[in-house]
Amino acid sequence: MNFEFTEDQIALRDAAREAISRHRTEPVPGTAAHNTELWKALAELGALGLPFPEDAGGMGAGPVEAMVVALELGRAGVRTAYSETLTAATMLGEDELFGAAVEGSRLVVPALFEPMRAWSPTPVGVRADGDALTGVREPVPYAAAAPAVVTTAATADGVGIFAIDNPTFTGARLDLAGVSARRVDGDELLVQRAINLGTLLLSAEALGAMESALHLTVEYLKSRKQFGVPLMKFQTLTQRAADMYTSLELARSAVYYLAMTLAIRPDHAIGVSRTKVIVGKSGRHIGQEAIQLHGGIGMTAEYAVGHHTARLTEIEHTYGDTRYHLSRLARGVSEYGSLDLVS
């Protein structure tokens, strides 16, 4: 057991941090614009291919390294299609788009949501007859950046994966009827593996957002005065900041551990669900308290803390929320007795 970053991981973190600071743009509420410059810079670092084998064009590192990068994105509060690229690349397997995706020459995103349907990792309303798809995917992340798409559909032989090179979007909506799609080698297990990786990366991004939200809050309590004294003289605020720190460190342990777990067991769905629950609870707690402890300023778009809360909310609603994952876990709790985390 060791939760500390290696020297290589620290070097990677610093390189990612540096790239982010060079290409950072101010967030705009409700508009998740894909930061292409940053994404290309990450590609140059090899960050888009971190967890993939070298012979496939990846870096031969693993989920831990990808997590290190995602954590920095969350901490800085920038938006770029990082988890999406790695999730899509996993689903693409040996498809021709894979190389372009991890090199950063073509933006590819996963299209896994169905409009007005709760999260489901398997397609329900999207079907394939040969290469002809029907159904709707919405919202597709970063649709405004005109990405290629990899999606899933129910086929006669189970869940199929399909690549779409040049889809046409209406807003964030992708109507699949009549779209030219190419079936990719891979089944439900590969989709789940991709979602597992994606969930880890979003969780790491959430962890970074929590870290920054707490940091901003602590600095605000130190500097801002009310009734003639700094806010940190008000014990009801400092005790709540302590609870935020507690939530943060619990989430950190869970995210680091999931990264280590996926490195050896990429299909470990139960670990993914547990992490999503822990991060979901911590993220909601920290996001809400960060705004409350800031007061009005926390509500403004000029100030970073609200954007972190918005991002935490978005991540909570991606790939299954706390309730979804608790239900998934609940179905299995009778199958074992004590937890065992160290084996």
Binding site: M116, F227, H307, A310, S327
Partner: protein, 393 residues
Amino acid sequence: MQRGLSPEDEQFRAEMREFFTTAIPQDIRDKVAAGTELSKEDFERSHRIMHEAGLAVPHWPAEWGGKNWSDLQRYIYLDEMQLANVPAPLAFNANMIGPVIATFGSQTMKERFLPPTASLDIWWCQGFSEPESGSDLASLRTTAVLDGDEYVVNGQKTWTTLGQHADWIFALVRTNPAAERQQQGISMLLIPMDAPGVTLRPIQLIDGGHEVNEVFFDNVRVPAAQLVGEENRGWDYAKFLLGNERVGVAPTGWIKRKLAAAKEYAAAVASGDGHLIDDPVIAARIAELECDLIALELTVLRVAANSHGGKPDPASSILKLRGSELQQDVLEFIADIAGPSSLSWDLDAESAIADWAHNATPVYLNFRKASIYGGSNEVQRQVISTGILGLKG
């Protein structure tokens, strides 16, 4: 003890329901239901219809348009209004400056301002908070110095809600910097927004909306006749203004409507072979929120029914605190119901996602303000612990 409404109040309720569900245009009520931002013109249309029906300022003194209703009737009026998705008469007019002028203003001031305030021919905004004066309002720094028969105002206000639509602002200003206690040197002035030296800067919020503003005063000259009541008594008027609403501080009708909507939403979002509402955990959460709401609404009713002779029930002190918590809980739940469909905020005519789901996250984020403004929840708890429980911190 007596449960239920008297026949007269039942009749009153039926009239209110009839009015709000028929007289106010459907397009405005649909926007409110979906959480879409209202235009200035929407507010005005709705307010003026209520005004023409004599229902914009029913709690004012009778001679200025009031109705002499009981607190219970006022509760019914607000409840039916909120249930029908009707935007309330502009609070700055109806609930804030109107009652202050009616109570403390000179006869001249009343005659000049009350009729256009009631009819929304003047749109008011509030100039209380300053960048360095949030919960500690009494530390405000905007100054007003008498020069002849005019005050010269300098300083800055912030969090001025809907100030972009406003014709006038009622502002707290410091007229006596030497007063022994900060609170004693404050006055309330009425200032036209188009007066030379007044500028307004919009503040964008995290939901992307523009509902609050900064207001700057640079040597703005204000006739002394626009001083409310007496000089240096502004703090009393502000306290009156913030404390004069007993019944409406917890928007239970609004919450009730949102919670009923949440059920519809949960029945509209597919999940597995059925819908989210079929999940026992979701249904239990709805039941719990309904219980929370019932406890709050019964407390509103208790306070309304027990308020006679002007002495409020101490339980009224919990209404703002609990009301904002529950508003936030319900909106969080709706955002969770929307789930991945909440990830895009854009209203697009061709979207397969309902407007409420597109709006779920911005509305959730926007209402984080509910526990901050109008006396943050921390201030509310302080009021309870000090004022009700006698815990002198």
